[in-house]
């Protein structure tokens, strides 16, 4: 194993997070070290000397890893925010305008008072959650023009997405349970369009937190 291979393995180990977020970045680092080694070798250095000089120029893992970790964490956070936005879009259809679980439950629920409270809460949480996801999505992309986005912002995005991804299904499923007239079709719709997508968002948020 060459010195460059050892360095890249150490760098990979110093950057936690989903492999897809690290892949291109580490490939570019490898390409760079390959080009730099060849340039030094062409200047008359032995392969070992050329690799050592290329690695010296590139910087130690301790110096380089923090910047790479920021990049990976921000990438993971952007993906999590995008997932949350996409998952939130059909929720209004599911709860209010299309399948309309809200009004059907309101009519059937034995404990209509609690149902109505939860219905109000889920509307607020949904609105705030979607708004936060859009802000996070913009901040981790074009927002980097003006804002110093780093691991802290990535952590905040992931924590926000995780909280929303847990709270909405819990409230939604509780509301369904309260109706007392849950049909197989509505239960399947809730699993397919609410529980499963939010579970994927929560998983992505957890991976983002691991990258921070």
């Amino acid at each position: 194993m060459s010195a460059v291979d050892v360095y890249l393995a150490d760098l990979r180990a110093a950057i936690p997070g989903p492999s897809w977020t690290r892949r291109d970045l580490l490939r570019e680092a490898g390409d760079h070290l390959e080009d730099a080694t060849e340039a030094y070798a062409a200047a008359g250095y032995t392969t070992a000397e050329a690799e050592a000089l290329a690695l010296r120029d590139f910087g130690s893992v301790d110096d380089i890893a923090p910047g790479f970790r920021d990049t990976v964490a921000i990438g993971a956070a952007r993906r999590t925010a995008l997932m949350l936005v996409l998952v939130m879009i059909p929720q209004a259809f599911l709860w209010d305008d299309g399948i309309d679980l809200g009004s059907s439950g309101r009519l059937a629920a034995p404990d209509a008072g609690l149902f109505n409270v939860l219905d109000t809460i889920i509307e607020y949480v949904g609105t705030i959650g979607a708004l936060g996801a859009v802000i996070a999505l913009v901040a981790t992309a074009i927002g980097q023009r003006w804002l110093p986005i780093g691991r802290r912002a990535a952590r905040l995005t992931a924590a926000w997405a995780f909280a929303i991804a847990v709270v909405i299904p819990v409230i939604g499923l509780t509301m369904l349970a309260l109706t007392g007239s849950l049909t197989v079709m509505v239960a399947l719709a809730a699993i397919a369009f609410m529980a499963t997508p939010f579970a994927l968002v929560a998983l992505s948020a957890q991976r983002t937190l691991a990258a921070c």
């Binding site: 291109d24 970045l25 490939r27 570019e28 680092a29 390409d31 760079h32 080009d35 730099a36 120029d57 590139f58 910087g59 130690s60 110096d63 380089i64 910047g67 790479f68 920021d70 990049t71 921000i74 990438g75 952007r78 981790t140 992309a141 074009i142 927002g143 980097q144 023009r145």
Partner: protein, 106 residues
């Protein structure tokens, strides 16, 4: 010139060297070294997070292309990046004029 002194300017320097033509990472480092007369003293690995940030900010476009028979990720200035570079150049001229005016000559 140490990396600390470059803080806040590295992004503009990168945009400046890809202004004329798309370049891959190693070529960007070479261009920075050539245009600075070898005075820039920063770990070359720090450029990759900066390139990724500039791309996500919409200042650069990237694509994988063949360079010297190898696949390399190549970066190209976007129209937003061109505007940002022009604005930074103007700010720098003003800053340099003001500081030079105050410091004067020894």
């Amino acid at each position: 010139m140490k990396a600390d002194a470059l803080r806040g300017h590295l992004d503009s320097l990168i945009l400046a060297v890809v202004e004329k033509q798309p370049l891959h990472g190693y070529a960007i480092i070479e261009a920075l070294n050539a245009r600075s007369g070898g005075e820039l003293d920063l770990p070359t690995g720090t450029i990759y997070p900066a390139l990724r940030r500039l791309e996500k900010a919409g200042y650069l476009h990237s694509s994988w292309s063949e360079v010297g028979g190898r696949k390399r990720r190549t970066y190209e200035l976007s129209s937003a990046g061109r505007n940002a570079l022009a604005a930074h150049r103007q700010e720098w001229r003003t800053f340099a004029k003001v500081v030079s005016g105050v410091l004067g000559e020894a």
